[in-house]
Amino acid sequence: MKMTLFSRRAIARCAMAAVLLSSVAGLAVPAFAADPVELRYFYRAPWPSSEIYANWLIDEWNKKNGDRIHVTGASVDGETYKTKQTIELASSNPPDVFYSWEGGRAQEVIKNGFAADLTPYYAKYGWDKFLVPASVSLATFGDKKYFVPTEIGASVVWYRKDLYEKLGLKVPTTWDELMANAEAGKKAGLWPFLLANQKKWPSQFMWSAILVNKFGLDTYQGLVNNTIPWTDPSAVETTKIMADLAKADMFEPSFNSIDVGPAMVPWSQGKALHWYQGSFNLGRFRGDQPKCCVVPMDYFPMPSIDGKKPVMSVFAEDTIMIHAKSPHKDEAAEFVDWMISKPAMTEKLAIDKPFPSSTQGDLSSLSEMEQRLGKEMASAGQFTFMHVDHATPPAISDRFLDSLQGVLAGAITPEDAMQQTEDEAVRTRGKI
């Protein structure tokens, strides 16, 4: 009896001591600053400047917040990122923050449950208030937002201003005017358009622009979103237009053997008149000049065909996701918020290339032409379209790009090309 009493009292005393102790300890924790949260950031570095910028981003963050949230980066070059991403995301210890693509690829990542729902963080940090609206619309799947765009881009017709002047040409507003300018260039011994299609992705830019401007945005969306088969006359017709351009020597000779990088040489030498490409090439156009560009050039959107209103392609070039399995989503969101903050965005322009996804980004360091394009994109209220390889799963886009390249080389017919693409699409998504 006495024994029990004593022990009961002892227990009570012990409990009190424990409570006391723990409260003291609780107070002490912030003072001791336990180990910081470790975040892993897995990103794609297609250019040398991407790597430099990412390092700056991480270093600056760690300098300020490293004792609380410490970030480690790991990068993969542009081409292999797709293949590495699958392995990384599915691993037992996945990265907390990772580079993603918009469109079809993003959908796949979301479908497999790797992407955290970022809607609460959009609300918490007010991201949608300063991100370019077009890019935010891209991040929205159903009623949830899954990624944060960090860089946006547009595809336009770049043209050599000096050559235009020399030949007395005017910026075209219709497809026919563009073709007339191209003819004039050809007569003057120039290559009307650069294609630089060795790696087979470049030709899709012009293909999708022609399709959208000839058959409308809905047709294009139908194709890439699996409601219209690739054998649709619109796709075949567009492919045929590309083939005819190739046959009419509208592209540089050996266009299927020249890569985009080396193509900068004839572009700088003034051998080509136009180049329909994405704005991510501005880094190249800028060269080692402080401001764009090495040679006098400007841009205009792909003009309308058949009298329709022209549609410029605006897309998110770089996007960031937070892994659904990350134990530190809140901290990750804090890091993402830093990535799209004004100082980070401004620095990106200096180190890396345009365009920032934030409307707060200071564009004043850019050339007049770039600023103009940036504003045009920022004011685009709606995302327009992205090119095939971002819009569709890789299996389909790869076959599409192969076939398109084959058509341009004159090895297969446009019909066969689209049939092959459709066969592959059936295999991936089933019949429509």
Partner: protein
């Protein structure tokens, strides 16, 4: 007699194992285990995986039986890749093996001066990574400012200039020849060593009997080099079936899949198109093709090559 009472009958494995514990463990069981873990298991797993559809991300795989194989038979890209592998093999058997043999012969017979230097130069590309070889040839064969076309034109062979990577009829040969360039040092070293083992007197005798270099090469050297050739052909076969790096760095299958090889298709299908099951099925096909070719070579080409 104190030996086995069942003499005349071969003793069972367990009897052997009891008597030779050390040999059994280190000579038989350990190597078998190593083989099983590093060779057997991956092969079996690949075969197993080839019966499934799996995107590499989801934890569960869908069993599809032989569907992957059925699809493979009708897959035009697979067919192109398979044929490309054979073209590649043909080129690598013809060019680097022959060039290696000729160079080794020339060095051994002092037709070429500075043997040690030439040997080092020819062997050097073997030590280079195929990635850098690929990048280098992308520059050399570049249609805009590549050195190769310039050289061809300057020696009056301008009519030969073509789109080395863009022309779908020649691209695979371009790749194979580049790989051959990087590989020539290997057969050369093998043949160089092999020629050192061919008795010098047989060459002397042939010379005295009036043989020129052609006859000495074909009638004296090559027949006596058959064991070396067996090894070189095997190496070339496996090298050509693994042809991957160059495709990956130089063309990525372009133009339109005409430079795909099986190894690259496996990579594309597995990692790019996230069809790991189908990728595995193609791997199995590669395995089957190599095994078959190795068998043919061993059975036919190299029959008696190792008899003395």
């Amino acid at each position: 007699m104190t030996t086995s009472p069942r003499s005349g009958e071969s003793p069972g494995f367990f009897a052997f194992a009891r008597e030779h514990t050390f040999v059994t463990i280190f000579g038989i069981l350990m190597p078998l285990a190593v083989f099983a873990v590093f060779v057997g298991y991956p092969i079996l797993f690949t075969i197993y995986l080839s019966l499934f559809e799996w995107n590499g991300m989801t934890p569960d795989k869908t069993f599809v039986g032989l569907e992957n194989y059925r699809h493979m038979i009708g897959d035009s890209h697979f067919q192109i890749a398979l044929i490309n592998n054979f073209k590649w093999l043909a080129v690598t058997l013809a060019f680097p093996v022959l060039a290696g043999l000729l160079i080794a012969y020339a060095l051994r017979n002092r037709i070429l001066p500075a043997a040690a230097l030439v040997r080092t130069i020819i062997f050097f590309p073997v030590t280079m990574s195929l990635i850098s070889v690929g990048l280098m040839f992308l520059l050399i064969l570049n249609p805009l400012f590549g050195a190769f076309d310039t050289v061809l034109r300057s020696v009056g062979l301008g009519f030969l200039v073509t789109e080395w990577f863009g022309n779908y009829k020649v691209a695979i040969y371009t790749l194979a020849i580049v790989s051959g360039w990087a590989f020539t040092g290997m057969p050369m070293i093998f043949y160089y060593a092999g020629l050192g083992d061919v008795p010098k007197e047989t060459f002397d005798a042939a010379r005295i009997e009036g043989a020129g270099h052609w006859r000495m090469l074909t009638k004296v050297a090559i027949p006596q080099l058959r064991p070396v050739t067996a090894v070189v052909v095997m190496l070339t076969l496996f090298e050509s079936l693994r042809a991957f790096d160059l495709v990956a760095v130089m063309t990525k299958g372009a133009p339109f899949g005409y430079t795909n090889v099986l190894g690259y298709i496996v990579y594309l299908e597995s990692f790019w198109n996230t069809r790991f099951g189908y990728g595995a099925a193609i791997s199995v096909a590669i395995l089957a093709v190599s095994a078959l070719m190795a068998l043919i070579i061993l059975k036919k080409l190299m029959k008696g090559a190792f008899d003395v």
